[in-house]
């Protein structure tokens, strides 16, 4: 049985609704609704490996600043965002930290680190 999935392309303000057809063997069988090739590229990525940069804050210890802004060093698979937040809920950042310093190495074995996206002083 062929399956259809719809995506909204974020490549330009047009925001094409692109319908992806997947054949019975799980292979990509076609695209419909996109007005340019970029749409196919975007949808293929979103279908095969949708990734997002996780940005959040963590609590601090030993700083007058209650929170430190953090991010993943590169995008991680979309399905791990909530799990990533659960890890961050247990983290306490201690000063001094500078932008780019690793706060949690290799988050959930994604290969991406959680790094400081702000500076933290005492």
């Amino acid at each position: 049985m062929a399956q259809k999935k719809t995506f909204i392309c974020i490549g330009c303000p047009l925001g094409c609704r692109v319908t992806l057809t997947i054949d019975g063997k799980g292979a990509v069988a076609g695209f419909a609704g996109n007005k340019c090739k970029e749409g196919e590229k975007y949808v293929l990525e979103e279908y095969t490996n949708p990734v997002r940069t996780l940005t959040a804050t963590v609590l601090t210890e030993g700083s007058s600043q209650p929170l430190l802004a953090v991010r993943t060093s590169r995008p991680i698979v979309k399905t791990k965002l909530a799990e990533g937040m659960a890890v961050l809920a247990k983290v306490r950042a201690r000063p001094p930290l500078k932008i780019g310093d690793v706060v949690v190495p290799n988050l959930l074995d994604t290969g991406a680190d959680i790094v400081a996206s702000g500076n933290l002083s005492s």
């Binding site: 940005t55 802004a69 965002l81 996206s117 702000g118």
Partner: protein, 419 residues
């Protein structure tokens, strides 16, 4: 500090002010002060912990604090003088500034030129006239953003968001990740108010329902918000009888537009554009008052910080030149008019002698259009939306095609033939 020695004073140290001050120094202004009422440089960037900043300016995907720190460091490296915890309370027509801080009390000085970079603030409940009680739990999306990202508490557990501006959608995602449940994003227009990438990555990714053509018609609750009534609206944005339903929630966030913060500009006699809510400027970003320039969200509300930085650099460079030369060589004489499906164009006047970038927004979404600038230029655009600012670059050479004595030029968004 000898304030009477100041060449350029920049009011507001958010992304606009920092970019203006840095460029003013680079363009040769000796003493550039960057006046900021908060205790640090960077403005609202500190609370915008999400990414998507700098994609155009740095060709990198940065968070707000990361983007801000690049400018903070550059401001200090280039010799900009920050004046923190200092609030400008007076601005005279003669460019006299009056400000207060806790160290020096009331200070006055008269810089050779000024850049207005005060940014904007959020439209609040009072501007919407939503009927109902006045319980706790009604706040703007930006206030919630500060609570969650800077102060460290989540303002509610069950949230409805009115308005689909970027900050609202970003807070929908942020609150969801922090464990709150976002029941709905309600938008009165038939299309979202923010960027498509935010609709996809903030709402769809988390299955947050979006109700277009809907609004909040009532807020319920005594001490705390208990529910809101939501109704569909007709083409005149009026609620349709019989479509009301009640959504239980403890928090209502408002993401219903931004207003340039121009109290000081008005005090100084700066002429404003009723559509943008910001100053009317020429292509150097000079207002009607010689030596007073403006850039960023105080001039018109931007969707991308990258454009705020670029625009404010123009204002900073012009301010430096004015400070060095004591006057502006030539200012805009040709009026730029917003024509078909164009809501506004900044700058509102141009000299026609320099390379000029027109920033504009449309009234309605449209596909397959061309932007036509008088009869000197057309540019095909695949799709336009009110939420996405358009930029059209005009070279001095193109502008040279204008007939001598041209008094105005109209920008139109026209339908193209074909499909």
């Amino acid at each position: 500090m000898k304030l009477h020695d100041v060449d350029v004073a920049v009011i507001g140290a958010g992304p606009a002010g920092m970019a203006a001050a840095i460029r003013a120094r680079e363009a040769g202004a000796e003493k550039v002060v960057l006046m900021e009422r908060a205790e640090e440089l960077g403005g609202l960037l500190h609370q915008c912990v999400h990414n998507g900043f700098g994609l155009l300016y740095f060709n990198e995907d940065l968070t707000g604090p990361e983007y801000g720190h690049r400018f903070i460091e550059k401001a200090l490296d280039t010799g900009v003088t920050p004046l923190l915890e200092t609030m400008v309370v007076r601005l005279g027509e003669d460019r006299q500034i009056g400000a207060v801080n806790t160290k020096e009390g009331f200070i006055t000085f008269r810089p050779k030129s000024i850049v207005l970079a005060m940014g904007c603030r959020e439209r609040s409940r009072g501007a919407l006239n939503i009927p109902g009680t006045r319980p706790a739990g009604v706040l703007t999306a930006g206030t919630a953003q500060r609570y969650v990202n800077v102060e460290g508490f989540v303002p509610g557990k069950k949230v409805v968001i009115l308005g689909s501006g970027d900050i609202g959608m970003i807070m929908a995602r942020r609150l969801t990740l922090e464990g709150a449940r976002v029941e709905a994003v309600v938008e009165i227009l038939p299309y979202i108010g923010g960027l498509i990438r935010n609709e996809v990555q903030c709402l769809h990714d988390f299955d947050i329902p979006l109700f277009l053509n809907h609004t909040v018609t009532q807020i319920h609750g005594e001490e705390r918000v208990e529910a809101v009534t939501v109704a569909q609206v007709n083409g005149n944005r009026q609620p349709v009888a019989g479509t009301q339903r009640t959504i239980a929630c403890d928090t209502l966030l408002l993401s219903v537009g931004l207003i340039p913060e121009n109290e000081l500009s008005i005090m100084a006699g700066v002429r404003l554009d009723p559509v943008t809510g910001g100053a009317r400027v020429d292509e150097t970003r000079q207002t009607n008052i010689p030596g007073v320039f403006a850039g960023g969200n105080v001039l018109h509300v931007h969707d991308l910080v990258d454009n705020v930085s670029w625009e404010s650099e123009m204002a900073g460079e012009s301010a430096a030149r004015f400070a060095l030369e004591g006057k502006q060589k030539e200012s805009g004489k040709i009026v730029v008019r917003a024509g078909r499906n164009i809501r506004y164009v900044v700058p509102q006047t141009i000299s026609g002698r320099r390379d000029t970038t027109l920033y504009m927004r449309v009234n309605e979404p449209e596909e397959t259009v061309r932007i036509k600038v008088g009869d000197i230029m057309t540019k095909g655009v695949r799709a336009v939306k009110p939420s996405e600012m358009l930029k059209i670059e005009l070279s001095a050479e193109k502008l040279g095609k204008l007939r001598e004595g041209t008094k105005e030029i109209t920008v139109d968004c026209e339908k193209r033939g074909g499909k």
